[in-house]
Amino acid sequence: MTFPNSLPRPPEELPRLAAAWQSPRGWRLASTVKNEHIGLLYIGVALLMFVAAGVLALLMRMQLALPENTLLGANTYNQVFTMHGTVMMFLFAVPVVEALSVYLLPGMLGARDLPFPRLSAYAFWAYGIGSIVFFCTIFFGVSPDGGWFMYPPLTGKEYSPGPGADWWLLGIGFIEISAIAGAIELIIGILLTRAPGMTLGKMPIYAWAMLVVAFMIVFAFPAIIAGSTLLELERLLDWPFFIAQRGGDPLLWQHLFWFFGHPEVYIIFLPAAGMVSMMIPVVARTPLVGYRAVVIALVGVGFFSFALWVHHMFTAGLGTLSMAFVTAASMAVAIPTGVQVFAWIATLWRGRVQINSIALFLLGFFFIFVLGGLTGVMVAVQPFDTQVHDTHFIVAHLHYVLIGGMVFPVFAGLYYWMPLVNGNRLSERLAKWVFGLMFGGFNIAFFPMHISGLLGMPRRVYTYAPGQGLELWNLVSTIGAFVLAAGVLLFFVDVARTLLRRQQERGNPWQAPTTEWLPVHQFSMRSIPNVHSREPLWDHPGLPAEVEAGRHWLPGTSSGLRETLITSPVQARILHLLRLPTDSWLPLIAAAGTAGFFLLATVELYPIAYACGIAAIVAVVLWLWELDNPPHIAMAQIGDAVSVPVGARGSASHAFWGMVVLLVVDATIFASFMFAHVHVSMLLNICPPPGASLPEPIWPLLAAALLAAGSVAIALVRRVLGSRIAVGALSLTAMVCAGSAFAAQMIGHGGLEPTADAWSATIAAMLSYQGLHVALLLIMGTYLIVRSASGRLRADAHATLDTTTLMWHYTTVQGLVVLGIVNFLPGWMN
């Protein structure tokens, strides 16, 4: 067999590689951007949120243990159940699956690190700071209390005048930014940084699951960001998007929320399913049955999950046939889900199953999740759903799905991957107790809720009267909840015990087949493996020794900096060498500034909030300033006889595609605003409504011409890169055009009264979003000019121009769509 690199390796190669990946120690570790560290911190905070929200659940169960209990008052109970749901869904479930993937994927893909490590660090710190501050609101009695889905009008200013709803809207809305940042990292990382030879067909199934999930995040999360923005604007500025008396519609919120909320269930479940597909072959000692069928099923679930949002609105009075379509789609999603379940069963059938901690939690997952799936099919039937809507039957169903479908697989995963942290496994003996307590406790807690729900026990009500047959079921549920909590507590005791043990050679304790079990150091693997199969460690037992000896790709560093390989998205052919950014405080400062801006604005400390916002912008600019440098050498040697280009430009660069994904997110947020406008327009008898009017045609025409001119000017910059004056002049022209176009739009809408009616408010929202983009273009244009003037914008380093140009063209298109929809929709509606 021939290897990319021969032995012996040059003696200076290893120390140089180790120096490049050296991490800071002590408190300076907060500046790390390595995904190995960020992933662990991320997992830690997510598990902290799990425990915190679990304590709230115990409080609820204590309150409901007895009828007419007075442990918690109604107001406190409202805050507790709202925070429990919100924290579990937004601050534990989604973050923990992203956190695990940030930690696991570099190794699993055979990459030294993911392509945007600073973005990962920013995402983590934004989430970490935001979630801890958000949770602390419960200690001051100012938490949101409108339920985790925050339906208006209950959460509008009239019925929720306090800051609780604002904490939810601004806090959670901003934390979602970190989920999207994580998704961009995952998409580009999975598609472009896989080890050479790891074609899509040989990629670990978990990476497939995370790829699908990352795309789902890109299309689902913008809806909740847009919805939160609209509700916050209504609360802050009295723009009546959801106020029926002024042409708004509370159902608009439900559509936006559930268009995010239902896919989120699968955003949580699919990573867990991916983990299950990784662990079952190890437990059964045989490859996954039906790999390709499982991949197709993952993609199918991803698609189908976007058609199910209305099944959360079956009692909202929508059309009979349209709801029947959703019922059908809700049942259809069982097909791809079933494909995965049968693939797992077939794998277990074919192999020789070892009953250990992982197997126990996987079997627990099967049992609980299948029951949750079956009650899911029940509530997909509208007449049944109408009966059990807002009862504890739904509470039981969603916990069977989420705890069964996500918590048990994640716990199995923690047992499985724990040795990656310090070489030590969690206790197998304690695992039996942990599993027994969790599995038993869960079923004792939640199975009775099916019965209490059918007996009429409502959700989100802080107490109940005696004599309705609910006492026994509630008491049993409470006992079960504490048994479940005891299992979780025992697990964390074992985790603490394991983490405190001495670091060991981690080896491959489960005899797993995938590359995250290759030997690693601070620089990840000594060399990047050449992958030839889906189970490289089973098919090629000598691979760890070869990788460790430096016989595979890139056994050193060509620049003295951190590097990884960029490979093609389907065949994983080597394309170029990517220099990765090093550790920096800037992501932490930017995240703290962003968190400060949103969270302090919530408590109306505007001057400090603005200062934080400016600090965040400055930190991001400084962070970007260090990037986009010309390559240190044109070609770098990664094998004895193989050299590849260093870096790439234009559409060959990872930054370009990162920007494209970001713009897809941007466009989806805008589409949500547009949907809001169309939705409220359809409620009108006459469009525009009385008192409102369209702009004179001259203004939209002028704005359109200026937008197009700005795009042309910025596109021309590429041709004059050699001349700093020409770059400056064209950039300035483009900025003037963009600013003037927006001014023309605003002048045209001079008479717009956003507080008068929802139609005007939705136009104001779209104009505001366009204005935000124009402001961004002015910052990016100025940055471009400064970068050019300092000689950093060159023919061999122009990622800044590429990304600016992409954003510019997007803003132009968005502006033209705003003009079109505002001016042409009324004619069509009438």
Binding site: L191, G201, A293, F303, T320, L321, A324, A328, P569
Partner: protein, 108 residues
Amino acid sequence: MGDRFFRQLLQGSAPLMVWALHFSAVYVLAEAGCGTAIEPALHWALPIASVLALATIALMLLLRGLRVGGRGGESVLGTASLGSGVLALIGVLWTSLPMLWLPPCGWP
């Protein structure tokens, strides 16, 4: 991105995109068309949308069959076009079933 990635991605997911388009179309028509001037047209527009979607997916599967034939060794995205075609076909059929016993607007 190289590898004709987008072309392969499109081939692999096109049937599910047709399913998504079909679902969006019939949902929006049924939800927004009732009580408007287009209500009478819903009786034939909805079934026609389903027939068109089914025909398109079937055509995609047929073209794929002609292209691939009995050859093995397809990429995972190539196999996906078959799997997503079957899933999309079932999805459209299943989603369209309620049209057989429910009127476009109101109750039967």
